[in-house]
Assembly symmetry: C2
Homo-oligomer: 341 residues x 2
């Protein structure tokens, strides 16, 4: 019982191998009826192309490049797992490279990917999804690419994101429903769109419950543990302490917990702390952090599909199909009160 190949489908359909190949590659020059018949047989036989053969004859690389800021960041490692899982079924390789904090390196990495490694597609992870020069280069070279959670020039490429606004709304509402009255917020990095969206979700959730917080309950952070410490020190030395803090990511939430402990506050009895992202940190610290799980692995799988699945037909994606919003999940853990009391 050897693997199904083009020839098998061709014989079944009574056409040439060439015609089957055209269907598999979405070549428009096939009669609709023929196409449908072949597609059906391919599906029935559970055909998947032999990548080695395809690569050998087409001189396509079957590489997908992933460009990130730090390859060992938690976000990235989860993304990688999702991408690898998906690639396992479609035969593509992942090539990864990182700017290691030097944003200006992004341009050279991307051009290297295009010229030397000759990737068939590229994925830009935040914050590298928002570098105009990189976007220009990719457009000029006609390299298919997908961005994750981009903030600028949304029509430049297909992109995948989650509804940060609604998630922030939900987690804030969860705090309200569990009896919190004084909910502070630490905003994320100023120049990232998600920070704005999460802040807005927080504000709107409060408003919809007719709650108004004093301005000193809002602190500006930078998505780092350290910035979380600074913000938490301010929030926890206010005259009227908040009874909950919603930090815009888990790192800052972890920092809030550590300052609360230092100030002899019981988490969550005296103060609840919630984060965002569900990174490893959220499960590693104690108490474990109530947070929003981003669908990172699914985002990765979809990104790979968009770039590699011929049925997704990257080329003629209409503006409508460019935006892909994936569902998130609220994870309730020990860092927040479970019931109103």
């Amino acid at each position: 019982m050897s693997r199904v190949k083009l020839k098998d489908i061709a014989e079944r359909a009574g056409v040439s191998v060439m015609t089957v190949s055209r269907v598999m590659n979405n070549d428009p020059k096939v009669r609709t009826k023929t196409r449908a018949k072949i597609a059906a047989i391919a599906q029935e036989l559970n055909y998947s192309p032999n990548v080695a053969a395809r690569s050998l004859s087409s001189s396509k690389s079957f590489f997908i490049g992933i460009v990130c800021e730090f390859a060992n960041a938690n976000y990235v490692s989860q993304f990688l797992v999702g991408a690898l899982t998906k690639c396992r079924t479609n035969g593509f390789h992942i090539v990864i490279d990182e700017t290691a904090g030097e944003t200006e390196k992004a341009l050279s990495i991307v051009s290297d990917f295009i010229l030397i490694t000759k990737v068939d597609g590229l994925i830009l992870l935040p914050p590298l999804a928002d570098i105009p020069e990189v976007l220009s280069l990719l457009k000029e070279s006609h390299t298919p690419f997908v961005r994750i959670a981009p903030d600028i020039d949304l029509s430049a490429s297909p992109y995948i994101c989650m509804d940060d606004y609604q998630a922030a709304f939900d987690i804030t509402e969860h705090l309200v429903r569990t009896g919190h009255k004084r909910i502070a917020h630490i905003i994320g990095n100023e120049n990232q769109g998600v920070s704005r969206l999460r802040y807005q979700g927080y504000l709107d959730a409060l408003r919809s419950h007719r709650l108004l917080m004093p301005p000193e309950y809002i602190e500006q952070g930078e998505f780092t543990y350290k910035s979380g410490l600074v913000a938490a020190e301010k929030l926890l030395s206010l005259e009227v302490l908040p009874d909950a803090v919603f930090a815009s990511n888990d790192e800052m939430a972890a920092a809030v917990i550590s300052v609360a402990l230092k100030n002899n506050l019981d988490v969550p009895k005296q103060i609840s702390v919630v984060g965002f992202d569900d990174t490893e940190l959220a499960r590693v610290v104690w108490p474990r952090i109530t947070t929003i799980q981003q669908p990172i692995r699914d985002m990765a799988g979809l990104a790979i599909s968009l770039l590699t699945d011929p049925l997704m037909s990257f080329q003629d994606s209409t503006p409508m199909a460019k935006r892909h919003v994936l569902p998130y999940q609220l994870f309730i853990r020990e860092s927040s009160k479970q019931n109103a009391d």
Copy 2:
């Protein structure tokens, strides 16, 4: 300027493509002189095989499987990056799967890798490097595999590790040299070999400086943040406080820092805290943690080489060549005093 292929080398050497192929695949049935000549030309021309062609004709998979406990663990993500980087130059794919904490799943994952995915080689990450059933299965099926930091049956396969004993010795000695007199230790998970080695390194470093710690300065942990909290609570409520704590990993060190802060102790002025591993956590918390960097990326690169590089000749590795010890690095950061005072 197209890529060098077997034919080019064959013409240069005045032999057939077949003979060159044999040399590239380490087939012993080639005259030594011919072999040397061909190898030299291949090197000069910077030949690297076309994986697609090779895979197509040989029906080898060119997949390397990595089995880990949690694919998104920091250790694993760093390992992945190293493995991917290496694979980029040799054309292998990485297939990853995780037991997600169910150790008994390891056996089915490994057999799936062997039977269905048909990997050409396998890498076992700790703690999965020490499951006797898995080792038996791999030996029976003659699947080449490499283990990372194994603890049992060291002759079963080539393995890669670092000198945990010496690293623990060094970081303890660093604490002594920077003026610490009362150095506590939190031991790692009881059933992992590295915990023993690190503990022993700590003890011997103290002894070599003629220091003796009271028994209550030694706590048993489990490599988790939570176990670090428990241990730290005990250590920091002793009558005579330690002036330094060496935790057997970064997670527990982070926990010590947080308890110290809670107890209004200044880190590092009143108490220094050092960890082990240099995971992301060590750089994310504040103060950042002085720790030992494991050469994880290099371990990954070497593991891939051992499995894929024909020159490494996996098959006839002598017992001597089975053990590969890679160098580590001591990273001094803000969680420990820099000078004796």
